[in-house]
């Protein structure tokens, strides 16, 4: 049990915000229909919801977010998931949730079966067409079968710039001339990555991506991966525009959420005020300690 809980703690090679770059498309309230997205299954006592995170999210965390779920992390272990859509309410999300009531994380390849993840939510990079599942409880697999999808009909011959270009993990990003941070924080729209770079990055990605897609029956053309929302993928810079704004706004929302929550928790004032107040308190205590120490030392030497 303990091991599983530890494993559910993410091994953060990827950063949550980075995954958002893949969330260019709005969520679908059903399993994905093709290999162009990741099916997200969330099951709790409130019911089961199956949605599709379109595109290729960088992590399971990103897939959840792009599928429209709101997430809360554990305060002391920000890579661990505590609540999905505010459930469970009872957990304060400060320490690791108990082994009997936590979101267990599962994943499955296209057409496969659920596997308890050995990698954390922020570390797992779901392949397009695969499924990720979250079941609240003591670590049982989701009741819904993972999705089996086929490749969509190719509408364009362009390679998959949307998925390949912003691949955000620091390790892989070293192939791009841009710094990894700027790639992950600011989606392609603002970094204006030249097409050549995207292509090069895509090329280096290809061997990785290929095994995931080739076995699927419909994956006749591995290069074809347009997303429904993308008007045209002929120009990589064009695809960047909407995705940039979308991810920007959603990442803002996520970033703002907890901050707002905290500032309204009644513990007093803005960050600066708290910093000043706490600092003043500690300075007062430290001078009290110094005063008492000095007084006793004087008392002892005068004896």
């Amino acid at each position: 049990m303990l091991l599983r809980r530890l494993l559910s703690l993410a091994a953060a090679t990827a950063v949550g915000a980075a995954a958002l770059t893949g969330a260019a498309a709005p969520a679908q309230a059903a399993a994905c229909s093709s290999t162009s997205g990741v099916t997200v299954v969330v099951q709790s006592s409130n019911g089961t919801s199956v949605r599709c995170a379109s595109g290729d999210p960088g992590s399971a965390w990103g897939a959840l977010q792009s599928a429209g779920f709101s997430l809360t992390a554990v305060q002391r272990f920000p890579d661990a998931l505590c609540r999905i859509d505010g459930f469970p309410k009872s957990d304060p999300c400060v320490n690791m949730p108990p082994a009997s009531a936590y979101w267990s994380f599962w994943h499955a390849p296209n057409g496969g079966s659920w596997t308890y993840s050995q990698i954390g939510i922020k570390g797992w990079d779901p392949k397009p067409g695969s499924s990720v599942g979250f079941r609240f409880g003591s670590g049982t697999a989701p009741g819904t079968q993972p999705a089996t999808v086929s490749a969509p009909k190719p509408t364009t011959a362009a390679p998959r710039p949307t998925t390949a270009a912003p691949k955000p993990t620091p390790r892989r990003a070293t192939t791009a001339p841009n710094t990894p941070r700027s790639t992950t924080q600011a989606p392609s729209g603002r970094t204006t990555a030249p097409p050549a770079t995207s292509g090069a990055a895509g090329a280096t990605r290809a061997p990785n991506a290929a095994p995931g897609t080739t076995p699927t029956p419909g994956a006749a053309s591995p290069t074809a991966s347009p997303t429904p929302s993308t008007p045209s993928s002929a120009s990589p810079s064009a695809t960047g525009e909407p995705s940039a704004s979308a991810s920007e706004s959603s990442s803002d929302a996520v970033a703002a959420g907890p901050t707002d929550g905290r500032s309204s928790d009644g513990s007093g004032g803005s960050g600066t005020a708290r910093l000043l107040g706490g600092g003043a308190l500690l300075a007062g205590l430290a001078s009290a300690v110094a005063f008492v120490g000095l007084r006793r030392r004087q008392a002892q030497t005068s004896v």
Binding site: Q75, V94, R171, T259, R262, L282, L285
Partner: protein
């Protein structure tokens, strides 16, 4: 409860009271990573130690615990850089990441050090360091030998044994030194493994001799005297002690494991502790031992324990209502909250520094030998 108008006479506060106070403070910080609260608790501990520690050699040990705490924070930071989860935003130390095979997935070696993750690791380290400082405070405030003296009758012989053990260590060091010096007289200054038997043998003999002499002296002074106890009573004592231990073990398991039925948790644990205490009390009746000048337990002791408990309760209340305030917002990084109730509780724990009696002045040491005067000539 409140301090009397005239300051109380200097006396040592009961060591158990200091320990309970320190445990209360340690419990309070055990769930806290908020640096404001942690540093407040640390200052409170330091304040009380500085104003109420006695003159025994133990009283100087608080500094060592602070060093140990600093060391722990350092180790925690180094471990974070080596294998920690590096999350958060600004990279403050770019490092290459070592890839591990898939069966070790989830463990990161090195990798970029990021501010958020590092702050998280440091606050975790600070939490442990402050807890250790609390224990250190208890150790400096309460003479452990006096604590052992107030053990119940059935355990007093263990207390004697511990006291003897503590005094053996300096004696052992002394005889090693003496034998090393004596060896030089035989022209033998060899060091290393060859020297071991030559030093160890005389030292061992010396230690054995001393132990035998001490055992003989303790025997003739009545150590281990027992009252006649009826066999039935003895059996009852044994049953209570064993049953209590067993029930405590089962109860602890029940408390820790959520899948066991509820009655196996706290009720069994409480019964086990009660049985054990009964066993100790029954066993103590067979021992005629009394304590010379036992430390009294008066208002100051209650006040001390109460202040420690207040800190623990206040933090626990905050944890119930607003658990996030006890931590640091890490993702993204933010200024931690200032939960007023918890702060007030911790500040209450500082009251013993002012309201308990002052420690007694240091005992007069043996008359120091005065420096000789040159004119002190033999007649």
């Amino acid at each position: 409860m409140a301090g009397p108008l005239t300051p109380p006479l200097p006396r040592a506060v009961h060591p158990a009271a200091w320990w309970l106070w320190a445990i209360g403070l340690a419990v309070a910080v055990s769930t806290v990573t908020n640096p404001f609260l942690l540093l407040t608790a640390l200052s409170v501990a330091a304040l009380v130690v500085l104003s109420r520690r006695g003159s025994s050699p133990w009283a100087r040990s608080f500094r060592l615990y602070l060093w140990l705490g600093g060391f722990i924070v350092g180790v925690r930071a180094v471990l974070h850089v080596l294998v920690g989860l590096k999350f958060g935003e600004p990279v403050i130390l770019p490092l290459p990441e070592v890839s591990l095979p898939s069966w070790a997935a989830g463990i990161n070696l090195l990798g970029d050090v990021r501010l958020d993750g590092l702050v998280g690791a440091l606050t975790e380290g600070l939490r442990l360091a402050v807890m250790i400082a609390c224990i250190g405070a208890a150790n400096s405030l309460a003479n452990p030998k006096r604590l052992l003296r107030s053990l119940p009758g059935a355990l007093s012989e263990i207390g004697s044994a511990v006291v003897v053990t503590i005094s053996v260590a300096p004696q052992l060091a002394e005889s090693v030194q003496r034998v090393m010096r004596a060896r030089a007289l035989r022209g033998d200054t060899a060091r290393g493994i060859r020297a071991v038997p030559r030093v160890a043998l005389p030292v061992l003999e010396d230690t054995l001799d001393r132990s035998l002499m001490l055992a003989s002296a303790m025997d003739s002074r009545g150590y281990g005297r027992r009252r006649e106890v009826a066999p039935g009573r003895r059996a009852l004592t044994a049953a209570c002690t064993l049953g209590g231990l067993l029930a405590s073990a089962v109860g602890t398991y029940g408390v820790l494991d959520a899948t066991t039925p509820g009655w196996m948790g706290l009720p069994v644990l409480a019964a086990g502790v009660a049985l054990s205490l009964l066993g100790i009390w029954l066993g103590g009746a067979a021992n005629a031992r009394t304590t010379y000048r036992p430390d009294p337990w008066r208002a100051a002791e209650w006040l001390t324990v109460g202040c420690g408990a207040a800190a623990a309760v206040a933090v626990q209340l905050v944890r119930r209502s607003d658990a996030a305030a006890l931590g640091v917002p890490l993702d993204p990084l933010g200024v931690p909250a200032l939960p007023l109730l918890a702060l007030a509780g911790l500040l209450v724990a500082a009251l013993p520094a002012f309201l308990t009696p002052e420690p007694p002045p240091p005992a007069p040491r043996s008359v120091a030998r005065p420096r000789p005067v040159a004119t002190e000539v033999h007649p």
